[in-house]
Symmetry: C2
Subunit: 333 residues, 2 copies
DNA sequence: CTGTTAGCGCTTTCAA
DNA sequence: TTGAAAGCGCTAACAG
């Protein structure tokens, strides 16, 4: 196809190309009957407007970009799901970019998107990001919504979950279950997300008069084997009776380590993790989780972005907080 | 940005826009020193070409589309991972469309993509697809590569896995483990993928002189609750001692049902499933799997598509088969 | 309500 | 090796 264009439609209908264009875009300055003649022929000939031409002229790409660390991740794939749903409702197209937690890629992607390829950007920043200065400039040039992983300091539109509160509650949950030596698997430490989760843990300990012990903190590193070794070491030398994992990716090796060391879950140690694993209840034992409303976060982020695009001006900066759900599973065993 | 365009670069450099364009595209009819002058200024001014203008004129969008049933799925998210990797190497952009297994959406998406928005399409067709006639036309209009879920009958480029062989081997594995009444959880029944997996099961039974029993087949339906009820019913009334699940989405409820019915895995029943779950070994008990090389399939599909785009003609129709891995876990218990 | 004209930013002839 | 000119298909501005 593509052979059929507005000019041909116009000839066929004895109209000017401009009128055809207006009719196709449902302009109010075209009579209803003309519109219907145009629509009928367009449909009959299977006409699809050329997006490049339209975009070049109108400066609207009907496309948004999603920049995330990784697609193959339970949270992000669900978020994309939500985003795509909203985009489709609006007849928008969705571009995907993976940073693999490399913040340079992030900046490079955005710079490549400032030329009109997309109307707006949804981003979850990489955990290696420290310097936010490039972003303070970028968000002036294109509508951006941050979701889940965002900056603390810059004035942007953010969609996030109640990281502090849910982490606090998860800790409280373990304490009420009798844990006194609760270890914390620390990740996303450059991000406000990670800091808040940590703070929830620390404050819950304090409010329960349990001493914070640095020896019980393991910080996530890139290397899987080292991570695993560190966790194993923690389990043997510190003998915690509870563990909070701030990411799914650390809870799973922790499970393996417990099995290997013959540490009984939840008898010897209780584990709760931030996780969106659909199969959590089938793990051995079922994994207690802090589950984020991932798809809803994606949807909400997309909705806010479209609101910004509709209004043709940038939204007053705001942060929307959705609530996570704590699902304890120890009892089911 | 976006304010800086070729015309401005040309003025600044005392060159014609045409020469600047040629230099930026590394044309061989431009002197090396001119190219370098252009590149230097372009970089300095952070120039990014307007993709709409470029595409409108050159009919190259540097964009591919990925049409899949669902992002939030272990196989497809890994496949996207592989696709995005190759696309980035080629400086291409990746659009994502979810069909939610609705074949009408599929056709609608493709029709919307025939207007130059993308240079090529990677597609995994929906399991509800029966009629392939729209596709026989579509694949003449744009380069398309089918991956994992494709048509049997049409002459297209396909990337797939050894569904028949791996299913045969999985069945053989259960038989060698002593199973005699092996049930089959049948899905993707409209697709050649599903048919081949079924055929592998049937032929393995035959080659081992085990009677094929229709009562042992459960066909996947959309409704989760009904699926679950059917599986439970199968377990109680037919008492199989082995189960092959042709998709992950049926193996998981099967696990739950066994637990609920106090059927011991793998003591009373052995289960193996087509699955790409990274956490398979943490399930209770560890899940024996037929694992597809998901990311590699995505990569390969993208590579072939780019080969088609490079050659500017359509690839001779071919089917590339990658091998799945069978991972038995019963022994680890 | 409809037509005419111009031009978005780029690439591609054709000519020098 | 470079420049001038045309035009991809569409829509916005201006007329009428």
């Amino acid at each position: 196809m593509g052979y059929i264009n507005i000019k041909k439609l116009a000839e066929e209908l004895n109209l000017s190309p401009a009128s055809v264009s207006r009719a196709l875009n449902d302009s109010h300055e075209i009579s209803k009957e003309t519109k219907e003649r145009v629509w009928e022929l367009a449909k009959k000939l299977n006409y699809e407007p050329n997006p490049s031409a339209s975009n070049l002229r109108s400066h609207k790409s009907k496309t948004i970009a999603v920049i995330i660390p990784q697609v193959a991740n339970s949270f992000f794939s669900l978020a994309i799901n939500g985003i795509e749903k909203i985009a489709r409702q609006r007849d928008y197209h969705v571009l995907i970019y993976q940073t693999h937690d490399n913040s340079d890629m992030e900046i490079a992607f955005i710079n490549r998107l400032l030329n009109g390829r997309v109307d707006g950007i949804l981003i979850s920043i990489s955990s290696s990001t420290i310097d936010n200065t490039p972003f303070t400039e970028l968000i002036k040039n294109i509508p951006i919504v941050f979701f889940d992983r965002m900056y603390d300091e810059i004035d942007a539109v953010n969609i996030t979950t109640d990281d502090y509160e849910s982490s606090y509650q998860a800790t409280q949950h373990l304490i009420e279950a009798g844990c006194q030596r609760i270890a914390y698997l620390f990740a996303l430490n450059n991000l406000i997300t990670g800091k808040r989760r940590m703070a929830g843990y620390v404050n819950a300990l304090k409010d329960n008069n349990i001493l914070y012990d640095e020896q019980l903190i393991i910080t996530h590193i890139e290397n899987e084997d080292e991570d695993y070794a560190n966790i194993k070491n923690l389990l043997t030398s510190e003998k915690p009776d509870g563990i909070i994992s701030s990411i799914e990716e650390m809870a799973l090796p922790c499970y393996s380590a417990c099995k290997q060391l013959n540490i009984n879950i939840p008898g010897d140690i209780k584990i709760i993790s931030f996780s969106n694993l659909k199969t959590a209840q089938l793990l051995d034992p079922p994994l207690s989780t802090v589950t984020q409303p991932a798809a809803e976060i994606g949807q909400k982020a997309a909705e806010i972005l479209f609101k910004m695009l509709d209004k043709k001006h940038f939204e007053p900066k705001e942060t929307i907080v959705l609530r996570s759900t704590i699902i304890p599973r120890e009892s089911t065993r």
